[in-house]
């Protein structure tokens, strides 16, 4: 029994794998960005804002 030509194996899965891989990657990266990075930036800015207010009120 002849074996059918094996063609298009890479092409068939490549787009799916690229889409899913990069899709999951972008989701995970944004989860880190909003969940960790921006929260730490906000925490730091709030601290310095509090410090500025205290300085403006004449506290050391």
């Amino acid at each position: 029994m002849p074996i059918a030509p094996i063609t298009g194996r890479l092409r068939k899965r490549l787009w799916l794998d690229l889409s899913v891989g990069l899709g999951l990657g972008v989701t995970a990266a944004y989860a880190y960005w909003y969940g960790i990075h921006l929260k730490s930036v906000q925490r730091q800015e709030e601290f310095y804002l509090k410090l500025e207010r205290a300085r403006a009120q004449g506290q050391p």
Binding site: I3, I6, V20, G21, G25, Y32, P60
Partner: protein
């Protein structure tokens, strides 16, 4: 214990913590810039890692011996795919290089310093010279800074980090550091201030710091310099300008 091993542990300290993963809180624009650059690159790192591991897993599963017993004879070489996986990382590295170099050159700037402090690394302690202030006898402020041995530690002091004489700096003032070594190469490093500079004998290295808040910031010698390399910590205390002037007066 659980708090110590959790990677999501939020830290509020200017000294390293047991099992710490991540940075100490920033106290200077330099370190804020470094952390931001790290986080931006980390964003792309996560994206690339998840993408690569997905494709790796998928390839291992779908092209395993069980699922794909016959190997495609033309799959051994592919010029196009090789070009893609060579050029894409090169482009990504180029994109990362631009903000990295920008920050590097910004950190090199020494903006009209208010005071200059000379830092000298010795085997195995640091000494500081405040040459801007000279007494009537012509002497500047100079002192050595040794680690406090464990037996002399008081409550609240850090083991291997606290010193007998801290380097005192005023907040919100640009400070120039002239760093050198007296014997072998040391490295003056304080993470919270975004500072790491080699102390090389026969050479004066220059860096600048700006503390945005008061506090004590700890660091350690970061160049292997001999037997007691791990026992010559750095403690920098940022105080208000009034307190700083009072300290200068007392010296």
């Amino acid at each position: 214990m659980l708090q110590n091993i959790s990677i999501f542990n939020t830290l509020f300290n200017d000294a390293p913590q047991p099992w710490q993963i991540g940075f100490q809180d920033s106290a200077s624009p330099a370190f804020t810039g470094i952390v931001e650059l790290h986080n931006i690159i980390f964003f792309y790192l996560i994206l690339i890692c998840v993408g690569v591991f997905w494709i790796l897993g998928s390839t291992m599963y779908y092209y395993s011996h069980n699922n794909s017993p016959i190997v495609h004879k033309y799959l051994n070489h592919g010029t196009l795919i090789e070009l893609i996986w060579t050029i894409t990382p090169a482009l990504i590295l180029t994109v990362i290089a631009f903000p990295s170099f920008r920050l590097l050159y910004l950190l090199d700037e020494v903006t009209s310093p208010t005071i200059t402090i000379k830092v000298v690394g010795h085997q195995w302690y640091w000494s500081y010279e405040y040459s801007d202030y000279v007494t009537e006898s012509g002497q500047s402020i100079e002192f050595d800074s040794y680690m406090i041995p464990e037996s002399d530690l008081e409550l609240g002091q850090f083991r291997l980090l606290d010193v007998d004489n801290k380097m005192i700096i005023p907040v919100d003032c640009h400070i120039r550091l002239i760093v050198t070594g007296a014997d072998v190469i040391h490295s003056f490093a304080v993470p919270s201030l975004g500072l790491k500079i080699d102390a090389t004998p026969g050479r004066l290295n220059q860096s600048s710091i700006l503390a945005e808040r008061t506090g004590t910031f700890y660091g350690q010698c970061s160049e292997i310099c001999g037997t007691w390399h791990g026992f010559m910590p750095i403690a920098v205390e940022a105080v208000s300008v009034q307190d700083y002037l009072a300290w200068v007066d007392s010296m």
